[in-house]
């Protein structure tokens, strides 16, 4: 089966000088959840922005490689046409229209839909997140972080995505809320066959729901494989899952001032 989204050797420069990612290749098959893991500044968000076509705002540019979504080249496509094709991103930190109400936010997500489609879309989001229905008339900037994340995901759902890209959905949320949000994501994947690209720093969580994972460091993919394989890789365990070398949980007291060399053997 060919991939729904395929990146091939993508290279991104910011401001013509700073190379943010280099030779990034990844493939996402339809109906899968794929995790992209990495620490701060590794290039995860840059990859998402490259896919969504919104690098221009930050003076970024794809200088090499190709991005194909369902067989269409996305490198020259406008952000709006990318969304229209069904590739929708939930940005990091939610980025709601803070002064609009919850429902207005959702309607914005379905911009261009007919009135009837908007109505069914809203109904779908409300049934996914009953909490959002309760808050529909409130100004979204006053919502809690967890509720805002739900609205952000709902807003993306309004655009009827084939592939949903989530940029750190767990950021700054309480564990319980994170669990419920991840349950929803897994549910969407299971019930509607929605394909998901999940960018996370919380590797434990991401690898527990994803079928496949990519690990990116310093703008390059250093390791990829099935989620179970990654979970048992000693480097992933030590650097991403917080286990000591013997497989026991590491104490902060034992954290070293040097780093064991990362090997990323596949």
């Amino acid at each position: 089966m060919s991939a729904l989204l395929a990146l091939s050797n993508v290279q991104v420069l910011y401001d013509h000088t700073i190379e943010a990612v280099r030779d990034v290749s990844l493939e996402i098959e339809e109906g899968r959840i794929v995790a992209l893991l990495g620490s701060n500044g590794a290039g995860k968000s840059t990859i998402l922005k490259a896919i969504s076509g919104i690098l221009g705002q930050e003076d970024g540019e794809i200088v090499g490689g190709s991005i194909a979504f369902a067989g269409h080249d996305l490198r020259r496509a406008s952000p709006a046409s990318i969304v229209a094709r069904g590739l929708v991103q939930v940005p990091e930190g939610r980025a709601l229209f803070a002064t609009l109400t919850v429902e207005e936010n959702l309607v914005m997500g379905g911009y261009g839909l007919s009135r009837a489609d908007t109505e069914t879309g809203l109904e779908e989001v409300y049934s996914l997140f009953p909490r959002v229905r309760e808050r529909r008339g409130q100004i979204s900037g006053y919502l809690s972080g967890g509720e805002q994340q739900m609205v952000a995901i709902g807003r993306a759902i309004m655009a009827k995505p084939r592939l949903l890209m989530l940029d750190e959905p767990s950021l700054g949320l309480a564990p319980q809320i994170i669990d419920s949000i991840f349950d929803t994501i897994v549910g969407l994947n299971g019930s509607r066959g929605l394909t998901v690209l999940l960018v996370e720093q919380n590797a434990q969580l991401a690898l527990s729901v994803a079928s496949r994972g990519y690990i990116i460091e310093n703008g390059r993919i250093v390791l990829d494989g099935m989620a179970e394989t990654l979970r048992t890789n000693p480097d992933v365990q030590e650097f991403y899952l917080g286990f000591g070398t013997s497989g026991t949980r590491k104490s902060m007291r034992d954290v070293k001032h040097y780093k064991r060399r990362k090997r990323w053997l596949s």
Partner: protein, 620 residues
């Protein structure tokens, strides 16, 4: 006595290294000895401070029970404390040995146990942890009395009673000045050139490492010969200390030549900043192993592909023009063959080479040295074209450094030059080189049997290298005696020659030739991740990790073409019929390479058994 020693190496040759240090401190105490970059600022150390610190450390070690004949180990990156510890151990009459910071703990444990080391100086927490692991695991380290850590960051809660910080030890030395100061001074005075100064563990491409005992005379003689032949003085020599000091070459070119010439050493900030630091310091001397020179050359060639078409054109034209000049220059013994060559070179220098050399940090190098393994002639020629004279040297741990070196007048490509002064050489019936003289070592520490094997009757050292000589007595190393392959057809093959030809390709990082006792030759090849990665990007071949590249069919075709090119240069029996691209990069941590990045053939042949089976079949 020491104050009256005149300059020049002849008077220094009967002294021990600590005596030379004392002489430097007394005659030129205010002169600059070290530069070390700390948090972005170069910190200076004078000869007087060097001597005072080493002496204080010696007093502290003595007060803790370190005695003549004992051994101290250093496990650290190159820092001034490395040299203080080295000289301090020698001041007391002990010997210092180095452990590669990249050595995993079992190897460190083996060396510390085998040498019965009493104190170990660790650079940081990482090295200290390895020593602690080694003392707690297996049979432990029964002879170890103290662990001294230079940078104790992150170790506040360590409870080991043997642990001490370097600065505490210096304070201890200051407190015991009255008690043991004169004792240490006497020990320095009583030191004899034939005392063991350092122990150097061989990298061990075969079997476990062995500790070669080198005396002050060994080290001073080998270094002083290079200094005399190359005409190095404090004004014409300066060096960036970056190769591991545990290795005899860096010890000779840094520690010893530093003492003998009174020049300045700059320490690179860290391994990662060597290139930048080199550019900043622009030293006058530079020692590199082939791998370093190769990397520099490939760096330039590779960067040129990203340059503008005009820049590329200029570079290519200059290199092509310079080639003839350099070749004539080498045949002429290093000097320009004619006035027109000199003028032409100057033009090329202005157009291109000046800035290129500056970029590499080699613009002031008067003498570059390359040793450690055979280097491809192509790489060496590259630097001669730029106008950086790189002299091939030959020597080994067991000779305290250099025994043969190229010099003005003797610069033929592919040779290692003439024997240095004071030594004798002869060639055994099977072509093996034997050397005798003041730089030949005393034997291996606690290993009579190995010493007996290395030292033949009459003090001749078996080098283990098969050699030839040019008509004017320049040494040409054919290969390691134990590496020569004999195919089942009875043909003797020199692997390094073919391997180096393969490694000339920018896409090939490492090549290991196989074929001993087999009916054809084959090779295990490790591709260069960066260059092949860039090639893949240009060709639009998606890849993620080293492994995906190594297993890619187009990459295989690329390497096939490279192998075919090499095959065309050799006779049919020397052709590589099959090859395998290794699916993982060779690594010191996995035991496949030594700390000095030499491949361990035996281990590789075991580790990659399944690959070898695919080449030769199950019967192999």
């Amino acid at each position: 006595m020491s104050a009256t020693v005149p300059f020049g190496t002849s008077a220094l040759r009967e002294l021990t290294l600590p005596q030379i240090l004392r002489h430097r401190a007394e005659t030129a105490g205010d002169a600059l000895a070290f530069r070390e970059k700390v948090r972005g600022v170069w910190r200076r150390t004078t000869w007087a401070q060097y001597h005072a610190t080493a002496r204080r450390l010696a007093i502290a070690l003595y007060s803790r029970g370190f005695r003549p004949g004992d051994r101290l180990a250093v496990a650290s990156e190159n820092i001034p404390e490395w040299m203080y510890a080295d000289l301090a151990a020698q001041m007391v009459g002990g010997a210092c040995l180095g452990i590669y910071p990249t050595n995993p703990w079992p190897e460190l444990q083996y060396i510390l146990r085998q040498s019965r080391t009493r104190f170990v100086v660790c650079g940081d927490q990482e090295q200290t942890d390895k020593v602690i692991d080694a003392s707690a695991s297996g049979e432990g380290l029964p002879d170890l009395d103290g662990i001294i850590t230079v940078d104790a960051k992150g170790m506040r809660h360590y409870a080991q009673s043997t642990l001490m910080s370097f600065s505490d030890l210096l304070c201890l030395g200051e407190r015991h000045e009255a008690e043991f100061g004169t004792v240490v001074d006497d020990l320095i005075e009583k030191g004899r050139p034939d005392d063991v100064a350092i122990v150097v563990y061989t990298s061990g491409t075969t079997g476990m490492p062995k500790g070669a005992m080198l005396t002050h005379r060994n080290m001073v003689h080998a270094a002083a010969e290079v200094v005399d032949i190359a005409g190095l003085t404090a004004d014409t020599y300066s060096i960036v200390c970056y190769l591991p000091l545990c290795h005899v070459a860096e010890r000779s070119f840094s520690t010893c030549m530093h003492l003998i010439t009174g020049c300045t050493i700059s320490f690179a900030e860290s391994i990662d900043t060597v290139v930048a630091n080199l550019r900043e310091i622009a030293p006058r001397g530079f020692l590199g192993v082939p791998r370093i020179w190769e990397k520099m050359q490939q760096g330039v060639v590779f960067r040129m592909r990203d340059a503008t078409p005009l820049q590329r054109r200029v570079f290519e034209t200059c290199m092509a023009r310079g080639r003839g000049i350099a070749e004539r220059r080498l045949r002429n013994g290093g000097g320009f063959a004619s006035l027109s060559d000199r003028v032409a070179y100057t033009l090329l220098w202005v157009t291109c080479f000046r800035s290129l050399k500056k970029h590499l940090g080699l613009d002031r190098v008067r003498a570059g040295f390359c040793g450690g393994a055979t280097i491809s002639a192509e790489v060496l020629l590259f630097f001669w074209i730029l106008g950086v004279p790189v002299y091939q040297i030959y020597g080994m741990t067991e000779t305290g450094g250099v025994t043969h070196m190229q010099r003005p007048g003797f610069t033929e490509l592919g040779t290692a030059g003439l024997l240095v002064g004071g030594l004798e050489q002869r060639v055994d019936s099977d072509g093996e080189l034997l050397v005798r003289g003041p730089s030949v070592f005393k034997g291996y520490l606690f290993d009579e049997e190995a010493s007996g094997r290395a030292l033949a009757d009459g003090g001749w050292l078996r080098t283990g290298d098969i050699v030839e000589f040019t008509p004017d007595r320049q040494l040409r190393v054919v290969d390691r005696k134990k590496d020569i392959l004999i195919t089942s057809g009875g043909k003797n093959i020199t692997p390094s020659l073919i391997e180096n030809a393969l490694k000339d390709s920018v896409y090939v990082r490492e090549a290991i030739l196989l074929g001993d006792g087999r009916h054809f030759l084959s090779a295990l090849i490790q591709i260069d991740f960066d260059t092949v990665g860039q090639w893949a990007r240009e060709k639009g071949i998606p890849y993620t990790t080293y492994r995906t590249l190594a297993e890619n069919a187009s990459v295989r075709e690329l390497i096939e073409a490279e192998v075919a090119q090499v095959n065309a240069r050799f006779a049919r029996v020397e052709n590589i019929r099959k090859f395998v691209i290794l699916a993982k990069e060779l690594d010191h941590d996995d035991g496949e390479m030594t700390a000095t990045m030499k491949v361990r053939r035996r281990i590789i042949e075991q580790r990659f058994r399944s690959e070898i089976v695919t080449i030769y079949g199950e019967a192999a």
